[in-house]
Symmetry: C2
Subunit: 471 residues, 2 copies
């Protein structure tokens, strides 16, 4: 039986099962829903065992005393022990549902309408996880083999929507069982239903707080104005100087490790039907695009690093006036990073920059407020990406374009801790309204994704020598 | 009888009466002390009548329904109706006394110690008002005339320490009775007990709030960072650009009306024994002086205009990080002004500056948050200042130097509404601890001030043709 035929025959049953999973309100950010997150994990484990996975387990997360939002782990070994090992990553927890009154139907009572399946998690990420259960069965049905052509591992976490706080620890403590040659991330999207595409990179991020101090106390600006440095002026100078007139970040060494966009990737990005006016509307009705000179908007938000001031404050901020020279000034900064920038190196550069821009009479401190997230990037000509593209091309019958994402979740941890390349296969759409009321998924696309997933194991198996060369 | 002899003979009685006045806790900022402010006004009116003023009245301030902090008005006409009319300005309300525990003796139980009179108001401003009562009696005793050589008017307000909210209205409504040829301001200080000096100018001030808006809502910096303008970046650019590399304010037209410091005045300022290190300690242990290139610290804080950012805020200012491009950014600005800058013209220049520095995609607004205070300035070669200097030279037997003040109270209203030049005669010292615990006044200086005041009426009468030329 062909993959497509198998999928068509089992589509109704597939959506019925997915809908059952979607009734479990696994909201990880809500402490009152922890039991539901656990129930969602158990449901998935049971379903995976039913699918045929010989191993499926619920893994608690967090250390002793730290209440966990459990992950699900499953494993289906290939017949050939030398076959590539593939780990699929996704998550089974979902976003909160407020404002409830804006939902057309209850978020945890999924309904089908006009080819859409509506409900919280339908796209992000239960739908994008669940297509693998149909894909593997279709793959086995088509090959009539008892085991997949690659060793398949699934790791579906339960705390992605609340920051993946314990995920890196979980990866480290289970490194041996999670060992793999490639990670398939099933938590991204495509450009549009009729423009199939694959994400090949996510920006990282690192944040810091800069504080400046002048006098010991706020000074009367009548008595002292014009006589001593004003920390707010110094902060304005410092933040203004963070970008040059071309919109490039002036932190020392900032671009040293940035991997340039290849002409090929720029060409692929240019093929995307991008409507900047529409995009500006989505961007809170922003009045104009802006940023680094020499790059298009999509290039800037996906493939170029940034420095952003996320907040700043100092002096009198309440009603009315207060004629002071304030004692202190503060700013919160974050940097979006692209391959191969290192968060620690960027913070070191920032410290240097702040030192260089602190005049006499002002004391400055820089506190890195968040552990950085490394950027991740999968070269478009890498074996895993090529295999992923071929499987999607077979399913969609179209050229697969490339996108990137401007922010990232725990993907960089997967690549770094498991030391494996990433390939992103997901069919989320902007139209899916993830994180918002009336989340939905395009049911036809979900079946296409299952089909691509069915082909993916063959395609990856076909590149075994390249994939396993790094073992 | 000589002026000095009269003053010496009546010194004990003078301090006794002043001490009695100081027992009245006329704290205008404290709603519970309004009756005491009224009592202080009544006490002064009665005392002035006893001194010989033919007219002394308590003037309520504020309109109907607005509870007033009364002023005292007194008048003593010269025998010659063509003689100059002199209005003495001061105030009888005092600052709050907290923290009470830091007072060595109760603030409203004045005591004499080591040549000092201690108590709230001893210097600011009851002491500096009260020396006129002794001065006028000494003047009359020395001349053996029944009336002073100038028509003397006193206006002693009761709400200076709480912002002089109704003072301008009072001046306008009583403009006819307050008509004068010169205003003697008795609410300023000298450089030091052994460096007698006269204030000749006060900076004005005008304030505004600048607001910038980008998107309709805060944007996720992962999705949009690098793509749209960040209002905080624009605000930093705008505030950083407010000063050029020489520390000069770049607001269009800002310096057009600035009266340059004369070489004479710069020379007089240079004669003041200024210890910058000590001044920096007073300035909240500031680490360095800073400001407009080409001017000394005293010149900058007294005679040069400034732009100060008093507060700024935008985006995430709470604990932790939030990777957003904020929708809004705000700054509170104030400008210290010198003669002959016009507050309205400066705000117009600021609006122009903000418009010029608002890039596409950002909307800016400027709201002037306070009615401006005009700067005031009395040229050192003007008739009133020369008369004041001569009277102080006779009392102190020393060259009188010139100072200015960096901020101002209601003095500019006096000059503007009454259309009269100002001359500042006061003997407050930095050491007086005004507005702080243990306020004191140097008793010997207060007697010198009374002596200078006694000479002042003769000196002003001697310049009658010049003073009254403008009638």
């Amino acid at each position: 039986m062909e993959v497509r035929e198998y999928i068509d025959q089992h589509a109704a049953e597939f959506f019925e099962s997915l809908s059952q999973w979607l009734t479990i309100p696994s909201i990880s950010a809500d402490p009152d829903r922890r039991a539901d997150v656990a129930r969602s994990a158990q449901w998935l484990r049971d379903y995976l065992l039913g699918t045929g996975f010989p191993v499926a387990e619920v893994w608690p997360t967090g250390g002793p005393g730290s209440e966990g939002l459990p992950a699900v782990y499953a494993e289906w070994p290939a017949a050939d022990p030398a076959a590539p090992v593939v780990l699929v990553y996704g998550h089974h927890d979902v976003q909160p549902v407020e404002p409830l009154e804006e939902w057309d139907s209850p978020p945890f009572e999924p309904v089908q309408r006009d080819g859409l399946l509506l409900g919280r998690g339908a796209s992000d990420d239960k739908g994008n996880v669940f297509f693998h259960t149909l894909g593997i069965r279709a793959s086995l049905a088509a090959s009539a083999a008892p085991a997949p052509p690659v060793t398949l591992k699934l790791l579906i976490e339960g705390e992605e929507e609340s920051g993946s706080l314990h995920f890196a620890d979980l990866l480290r403590s289970q490194r041996e069982r999670l060992r793999c040659d490639v990670v398939v991330v099933s938590d991204t999207g495509m450009w549009a239903a009729d423009v199939p595409s694959m994400c090949v990179g996510m920006r990282g991020v690192v944040a810091a707080e800069v504080s400046l101090r002048g006098a010991e106390r706020d000074l009367h600006s009548g008595s002292f104005g014009g006589g001593v440095p004003n920390p707010l002026h110094v902060l304005a100078d410092l933040l203004s100087g963070l970008h040059d007139t071309d919109g490039r970040v002036t932190v020392p060494g900032f671009y040293d490790d940035v991997r340039p966009l290849s002409d090929f990737e720029r060409g692929m990005i240019a093929k995307l039907p991008f409507d900047e006016k529409e995009w500006l509307t989505e961007a809170g009705n922003s009045g104009a695009a802006a940023g680094e000179v020499g790059f298009g908007t999509l290039e800037r938000i996906w493939a170029r690093p940034t420095a952003e001031v996320n907040g700043m404050w100092g002096g009198h901020t309440g009603p009315g006036g207060k004629t002071i020279i304030p004692a202190q000034a503060h700013a919160k900064l974050s940097f979006r990073l692209v391959a191969d920038q290192d968060p620690a190196a960027v913070i070191a550069g920032l410290r240097q920059y702040v030192r260089d821009h602190t005049p006499p009479g002002i004391e400055s401190t820089v506190v890195a407020t968040e552990q950085g997230v490394r950027p991740c990037f999968s070269p478009v000509d890498s074996p895993a990406v090529r295999a992923g593209v071929r499987s999607m091309e077979r399913a969609f019958g179209k050229e697969i374009l490339f996108t990137r994402e401007g922010g990232s979740g725990p993907e960089a941890d997967l690549a770094e801790i498991l030391q494996a390349p990433l390939v992103f296969v997901g069919i989320g759409l902007d139209a899916d309204r993830i994180h918002a009321p009336n989340e939905r998924v395009d049911m036809a696309l979900l079946l296409k994704a299952a089909e691509a997933a069915a082909y993916l194991w063959d395609e990856l198996a076909a590149t075994a020598p390249e994939l396993t060369a790094g073992r």
